[in-house]
Amino acid sequence: MTRVEGHGNIHIKIRDGQVEQCQWEVVEAPRFFEAMLRGRKWDEVAHITSRICGICAIGHTTVSLKATEAAMGVDISEQTRDLRKVLLHGENMQSHMLHVGYLVLPDLLNVPSVIQLANTHREQFLMIVRLHRLANEMSDLIGGRTTHPQRPVVGGFAKWPTFGEMEALRQKLDASMEDAEALGYLFKELVSGFPPFERETEYIALKGHGEYALYDGNIVSTDGGTWPVARYKEISNEYLVPQSTAKFARHNRDSYMVGALARVNLNYDHLAPRAKKIADLFDLRPITTNPFMNNIAQVVEVIHSIEDSCRLIDDLLKDWVEEGEPKISVKAGKGVSTVEAPRGILFHAYEYNKDGECIWADCVIPTNQNHANIQKDMEALVLQIKDHGEKEIENSVEMLVRAYDPCISCSTHCIFL
């Protein structure tokens, strides 16, 4: 597979109109993060888990800090909570722009890669880069840097932006809406380039209290039910398969899907107004069961992230205080936490001893939770198009996998139950 993060292979064998083999194979080398965390101190854990992923480092850092805070009973200020939400929006925007702009758009514009796009569609390329750059500037300002941010710490932030910096960011976000909506209209022109495909699927995401949940919430499923985060294991049910170094997961059915499409399916009512208008362009509303629409859900979330960040920053600036470095009372304990990373719901759980050393860790990655659904979707899609030409099957199946925006390196951080 090309134009995805990490190493995965697709094996399809069709003979005499019969599908003999259809397999999604994850071959990335496992890195053993949960084992690495054992014996490390509480103030190092987020630094290490950040390195699970370069694109969603902010997601891993944030969920890691929250899990440590849960384990040690650390409270955070309202301001910290809101600033973390803005930081997550920055990551969501950055990751989605990378995916839809650099990895997916070439498929829809029939160019081999973003490298050609830079020449054949320069205007669109520059628009994508502007949005991508703004997302990074947002993350740089609040987190220190997008990849492996230094500012977020247990209890809050080691360094805060100034009032002036936040104000300037707010203005830049406002000014970027034109580009963001242009992105929506661009995809509207090209959306017919995705193969028509539907499959009844269970979607799982966080649901917040009166807001589109990225930072916190309860776990919910389109098949019904709601669970507090502490019961995450009842949802993920990870298991090993022979053709994959990453685990698969299942809940109500053989598989389930997480990510932007799952979030839109479960949080649609809380999409910001202009994001909802773009969603309506595509008739993207609950419950959409076309996995290719995950790409469109990501475009919609870019707009939502910009709008919601503006709202959050306006709130923050009413009473902006650069807080000092938080003081932590180290104690033994076990904590579970969650965030919605760009690719879906993410869980970290840790146990610490009284010296603040991590004695046990569990990380359930969004892409792990998607692998089984990718497999099932692939089987159904190949059955549907098995009589088409080889090139077309190859393109369609690759586009299917790409639509999930899999983060394969993340999913082979590796865990054992």
Partner: protein
């Protein structure tokens, strides 16, 4: 004579270093003007084995990866290790300090032997590496500086003095004064001490300077009442593989 042919590869990594190349934003266009990218799995489908410069991210975690790396070394005139995982082993080295079997058991249980793995190592433990871009992640500035040097046929200039120099230039308050443990005194500069500037410590991700002043480090520890144990713990996060090997 055409543009230099460039390829990107990755092994066991978080792909954060490749991401910094995307994060060049508009400047990526200038890079694409100066070179021809012939292989980059994350960005494009096409692939060629005919390249001049190979940028390689990630550590080697299993025998089968060695084969792929040796092939890249054969194909490339210049091999550049991209980021801490590739230059020194990076965060992947932490597991080397734990007993290997225990690690595999903990993660895969009784299926442990089905999963191929061995102690994490940087590229230089397997093949000769021509140049290194350090850091976890690399900085865009250094990537650009190194690329420019290579395109001009010059040897990239990488600092060989500790992060403390850059920290002083950034006018940071020394974090030892705040009771924190910092790897700055023995870590190679080139990052402009960004982590201390952003409120953290130096974690040592760029690896040791060539002749680390261990005596100075020990003196500093004594002065601030910090233990050697504290430093050794921090040292494990980005311990240079060649140093670990020597100790085993």
């Amino acid at each position: 004579m055409g543009k230099p042919r460039v390829a990107f590869f990755d092994f066991a990594s978080c792909e954060g270093c490749q991401l910094q190349v995307y994060n060049l934003e508009e400047d990526l266009l200038k890079v694409l003007d100066a070179v021809e990218v012939v292989a980059w799995r994350e960005a494009m489908k096409g692939h060629s084995d005919d390249y001049d410069i190979a940028f390689v991210e990630g550590s080697i975690l299993r025998q089968s990866d060695e084969l792929r790396l040796r092939q890249i070394r054969r194909n490339a005139k210049i091999l550049v290790a991209l980021g801490a995982c590739a230059t020194i082993g990076g965060i992947n080295n932490i597991k080397n300090f734990q007993e290997q079997e225990a690690v595999r058991q903990f993660v895969y249980g009784n299926k442990a032997l089905d999963y191929e793995t061995y102690p994490a190592r940087p590229l230089k433990a397997v093949v000769p590496v021509d140049f290194e871009i350090h850091g976890c992640p690399i900085t865009r500035k250094e990537f650009t500086t190194v690329l420019k040097a290579l395109l001009l046929g010059k040897k990239p200039e990488i600092p060989n003095y500790p992060v403390c120099v850059e920290c002083k230039m950034a006018q940071n308050i020394c974090v030892f004064e705040k009771g924190m443990t910092c790897m700055g005194p023995v870590t190679r500069a080139g990052c402009e001490a960004c982590c201390v500037t952003e409120g953290s410590i130096c974690w040592g991700c760029r690896g040791l300077v060539d002749d680390p002043n261990i005596h100075a480090q020990v003196e500093v520890l004594a002065k601030y009442g910090l233990s050697v144990e504290d430093i050794l713990r921090k040292f494990q996060l980005y311990a240079d593989f060649s140093v670990i090997k020597d100790e085993q």
